[in-house]
Symmetry: C3
Subunit: 397 residues, 3 copies
C-alpha cells in the first residue's frame, strides 16, 4: 500500500507551494483509474488575485476546491458534463476584496459563484440584528451579515493525499479558523475525497470548539447547480415528510415546488423548507434530474447531522444566474434569532465538535438516474405533508 501526502500550505510551519501537480506518472498507481491527477495553482489578477485552487481529478470526476474561499467547491465535471452554474460574479473572488457589510449586509453576494459554499459558522441566513457581547462583556446589538464568514475565510493548512488502497482515493484537507477575540471561535477541518474512477465525492467536515466556553454553530451547505442538470422540466426527487414555502411569495409556487421552469428574466426566487425522511442507514438523498432524465446530481447525507433541508429555486435568465440550490443544513437559513428560538442553533461545549458528511454523486445515463430516483422513492413513507403557506416552525412570520 502506498500513500502520498503533500502539505501545500502550513502557515505555522512556513510551508507554501505556489504550484504543484502529481499524477500517475509520478504518484502511486490506482486501480480505479489511470488518468487521475491532483494539482494546485494560485490565480493571479483581478478579484481572483491570490486565490488558491486545488483540483482533484479521479479520472472521471474532476472537482476544483478553493482553500482561499472556505474550502468551497468551485466547479467540476464528470465525463464531459459540467458541474457548475454561471453566476454574474464570473470568477473566484479573493475574500480580501469582499466587504460582507456592503449593501446593508449583502456583501457576501459579491463573491458568490461556487458549486458549493458553506454558510456559517457562527451564523447564517439573512442580514439582521443579533445581541452579542463586546470586549468588556457587555451585551451589544450587532448586524449579522448574509450567510456568515466561513465562505470568505482561507485555510491556514492544506494537505492533499493519494492512497492506492482499493480503487485508490484522492483527497484534500483544509483547516480554517473562524475566530475573533471576545467573539466566536470555531475551527473547520474539511476533507473532500473521491475514489478513483467513481462518479462521486464526499465532503467530511468537522467543526470544533477550541474555546473553554460554549460556542454557537449554524452550518448550511449552499449547493448550487445549473445546466445541464437544471433545465425547464427538471425535477427534485426526495423522500419528504413535510415541506412548506419559506414566504408568501414562494407560496405562490408551492404547487410545483419540485419542478422547474426554464430561465425567466427577472424571476424572483422561491425557497422551500423540508423535513426529509431517512432510510435505514439514517441517510437521506436529494436528486436533481434534468427534464429528459438522462443526467442527475444527488446529495446524500445523514438526516441526523443535517436535519434541515432548503431548496432554493432561482431560475433567472442564464445571464443572471440560472440556478437551483440544494441546501442541507443544521438549520434553515432564517435570521439566527429565529433559529435560536426554534432550537436549531447548535451549542458546542468546550472541546466539542460536530461532524457532517455529504456525498455528491453525478449520474450521466437514464439508467443511473432512474436507479437513483427509485432508491429515493423506496424510502418515501406515506404521503408528504405539503403546506401551501409558510408554517410557524420553519419560517418567522
Amino acid at each position: 500500500m502506498a500513500r502520498l501526502e503533500t502539505v501545500l500550505t502550513d502557515v505555522d510551519a512556513g510551508i507554501w507551494l505556489d504550484a504543484w501537480r502529481t499524477n500517475a506518472a509520478d504518484g502511486p498507481q490506482l486501480a480505479g483509474a489511470s488518468a487521475w491527477s491532483v494539482s494546485k495553482t494560485r490565480l493571479r489578477g483581478g478579484l481572483s488575485d491570490g486565490v488558491d485552487v486545488v483540483t482533484l481529478d479521479n479520472g472521471a470526476l474532476s472537482m476544483s476546491i478553493l482553500p482561499t474561499r472556505g474550502m468551497g467547491l468551485w466547479k467540476g465535471s464528470f465525463r464531459g458534463l459540467p458541474i457548475e452554474w454561471k453566476s454574474p460574479v464570473a470568477r473566484p473572488v479573493n475574500p480580501q476584496f469582499v466587504n460582507l457589510q456592503e449593501r446593508s449586509g449583502l456583501g457576501w453576494l459579491a463573491g458568490f459563484n461556487e458549486l458549493l459554499c458553506r454558510c456559517g459558522l457562527a451564523f447564517n441566513g439573512p442580514p439582521g440584528v443579533d445581541r452579542v457581547l463586546d470586549n468588556n462583556g457587555n451585551a451589544i446589538e450587532t448586524e449579522l451579515t448574509l450567510h456568515g464568514k466561513i465562505a470568505n475565510l482561507p485555510a491556514h493548512r492544506v494537505t492533499v493525499a493519494v492512497d492506492d488502497d482499493g480503487d485508490g482515493t484522492l483527497s484534500v484537507t483544509g483547516v480554517i479558523d473562524e475566530a475573533m477575540m471576545f467573539g466566536s471561535v470555531l475551527r473547520l477541518t474539511s476533507t473532500v475525497s473521491t475514489t478513483a474512477g467513481s462518479n462521486s465525492l464526499t465532503i467530511t467536515d468537522t467543526v470544533s470548539n477550541p474555546s473553554a466556553q460554549p460556542m454557537e454553530l449554524e452550518l448550511l451547505y449552499h449547493t448550487n447547480i445549473g445546466r445541464p442538470f437544471l433545465d425547464e422540466g427538471s425535477r427534485i426527487v426526495a423522500a419528504i415528510a413535510e415541506v412548506a414555502p419559506r414566504d408568501d411569495h414562494s407560496a405562490s409556487g408551492a404547487d410545483s415546488f419540485d419542478v422547474y421552469p426554464g430561465p425567466v428574466a427577472g424571476y424572483r426566487e422561491e425557497a422551500f423548507f423540508f423535513d426529509l425522511q431517512a432510510g435505514d442507514d439514517g441517510s437521506t438523498a436529494v436528486l436533481l434530474k434534468n427534464s429528459t432524465g438522462d443526467c442527475g446530481l444527488q446529495l446524500r447525507f445523514p438526516k441526523q447531522q443535517l436535519p434541515s433541508f432548503t431548496l432554493w429555486k432561482n431560475t433567472q435568465a442564464d445571464e443572471d444566474g440560472f440556478v437551483t440550490g440544494l441546501e442541507p443544513g443544521t438549520n434553515y437559513p432564517n435570521l439566527k434569532t429565529f433559529e435560536r428560538e426554534q432550537g436549531r442553533v447548535i451549542s458546542l461545549g468546550p472541546g466539542e465538535s460536530y461532524t457532517t458528511e455529504i456525498e455528491l454523486s453525478v449520474f450521466d445515463s437514464p439508467d443511473s438516474v432512474a436507479a437513483a430516483e427509485a432508491a429515493i422513492r423506496e424510502v418515501q413513507s406515506g404521503e408528504p405533508v405539503r403546506h401551501a403557506a409558510p408554517i410557524a416552525k420553519f419560517s418567522p412570520t
Copy 2:
C-alpha cells in the same frame, strides 16, 4: 505593418506576467518616436502591495495606468512636465486595503490620488441612502458610498498592444467586472492609447450590461491636476452655455469660478456644474492653463457622451492636496436619487453598452496653449449664463 499584442493578465486563461517590458529594441519600429516603451510591474509593500502598474511611454508623453485600481491613470509626464497631483495619500492603494464604508461612506478617500479615476459604475456622488432590491426581491434601503466601486476594482484581463501603423500607437486595455449576484452587473472595457511622439492620449471606455435585466449607470471621470498646470492665477477655459455653483459655499466663489487662488491651508473646496457647448464635431474641450500661459492640460470629449461637466476647485496647501478636478460625466456627482429624478441616470438594456471617449492633451509652450485656448473660444456661442447661486436642475436644495 507589425502589431505586437501581449496578454499581461487573463484570469480565465491562467495568464499573469509579474514584470514585463518592451521597447524599440525588441518591438516594432515606430515612425513617431524611437524611444518608446511599454512596461508592467507589480508594486510590493505597504498599501501598494499587489498593485499592478502599466506604463505607456510614447517617447514624449508617459502615463502609468493602474489595472488594479479600475484602470485609473496614476500619473505621467510630458517632456519633463509632471502630470499629476500630490495627494496626502502618497502611493497607489490596493483596493484590498480600502473599506468604502469607512468614515460614514467616505472610505474611497483613503485610496484617492490618481490623475484620473472613474466614479461609478452603478452610482457616484456623495454617500447617502438609496433603495435597492435584496436577494429575495424585496426593496431595502442601503447606503451608497462615495463615488462607487469601480476605482477600487481590478481588471481580470489586461492586454497591451504596439502597432506601427502611421506614427505608431501604444495601448493598454483592461476589462473589469463590477458585479454582484442580485445586484448591479456592469462590465467596463477601457483602452488607453497614445500615438508615438504625440502630446496626447485617448481613453475609450465601453460599459456593457451583460445581464438580461436593465442596469443603471453613472460614470464620471475625476481628472485631478496639480502643479505646474495649477498655480495662483491658473484659469479654466471652456465653451460654456451655463454654469452654476454646486452649493452655497461654492456660490461665494462664483464670480471667479474660472480662476484659481494659490494654495491656502484649510481651504474649503468649491465646485461648479456646467452645461458646455460643443463644436461642429460634437466635441467640447476644457483647458486648464497655468498663470503664465506656458503650459496647459486639456480634456476633449463628445458632449453627447458626457453631457455633465463638473469643476472641482480644491486649492488647499500643497501638503494637503493642491488640486483641481476636471470631471466630465454622464451625470453630476450628486446623490444618485437626485440624479435619477433629473433623468441623468442612464439605463442600459440587456446587452446594451455605452461608450465614452476622452482625449487628454498636454501643451508645453505659450503658442500651443494659446492655440488650444483660441480653438475653444471659437466654439463659444453667445454669453455664458452664469448663476450666482445653485440652481434646481443641477443641485439638490
Copy 3:
C-alpha cells in the same frame, strides 16, 4: 566601525525583498554576541497570506516584528522564555482580511494577537460616535472603530541595520502612513533596536504631521503578556501616584488590582487607569513578575511622553487568551470624545511630531527580578492614592 543597512521594502524606489537573512557569517562581528541574526520572511496562506515578518535575534533576545501590521511586535523569546500570549486568533492576520467595522466596530479583534500593537493614531478606545468633517468641509457624525487603524496598516518602507559600535546593535525601522484625503494624515516612523546579547529592546516612535493643518493624535501601546510571566499570583509593580478602576465591574477587583488570579473560563476583563510616578530621569517603569518571582517583563518609558497608563487584566482560560495588558499611552483608551474633553488628545501642528521611547526588558532570574522591583520601589514616593470606584478625570460616567 562597520554598519550594514539593508532596505527590505521601499515602495517608492520599487525595492522589495521577499526573503532575506544575515548573521555573523556574512555581517559584521558584534562584541555582545556571536549568534545574532536578522531575517525577513513573508508568510503565505490563510489569513497570514502576505504578512511580512522581520526577526531580530540579538543572541539572547529574539523578537519578530510585523511591518504589515503597523510594526507590531508579534512575539519573541529570551534564552528559552517565550515572550507572547496565546490569542484565539492564532496567527498574524493580513489587514486585507480585517474589516474594522465588523461586529459594530469591534473588527480589530479579528486580528488581535500581538505582544505589542499600537492603538491610534487618529483615535483609540472603544467604538463610538465622533464628529468629523466630510469632503465638503461639513461636520458629520462617524463611527470610530475599536483602537483605530494603525495596527492594520502596512509599512511602505522597511530597513534593517546592524552596527558594530560598542556591543553591537540590531534594528529595524518602518514607516507607515495613516492618511486619508480630507481626513487624518499622520506618519509613524518606528524603530525597534536591541543591543547584542542584551535582555532588552527599545521601541522609538515618531509620529509626524505632514499636513498644513493641525492633526489630532492618540497613541497607546497595547502590550500583551501571557505565560510564563503571567500566572496565578503574578504581580504588577509600579510607582503609583493614583490608580482607579475603569468601570464598575473593574471596581469589584480594585482591592487586588496588582495581583492576578489564574485562568478562569468566562472571566470578564478588568481595567485600571494609573497616574504613575517618575524617577529622576523622568522615566517610569512597570514590571510584571510571575508568582515565584523568577521571571519578569518590564516596560520603561518617559512619563512625560506617555502620561496615561492602563492595566488590562484578562485572565480568561488559556484557550481564550490568558493575558494581561501593560498599556502606556498618551491617553486612556476611552472614547475619543471623552479624552478630548479631558485634554488628553494631542494636537500636532503642521510639521510637528511626537516621539515616544519604550524599553522592554526581560528578567529570567530571581535576582534580576528582585533588582528590577527594588528600583521601582525606590521611585515610589508616598502612598498611592487608590480609588475604589471609577473617577471622573479618568473614566466617563
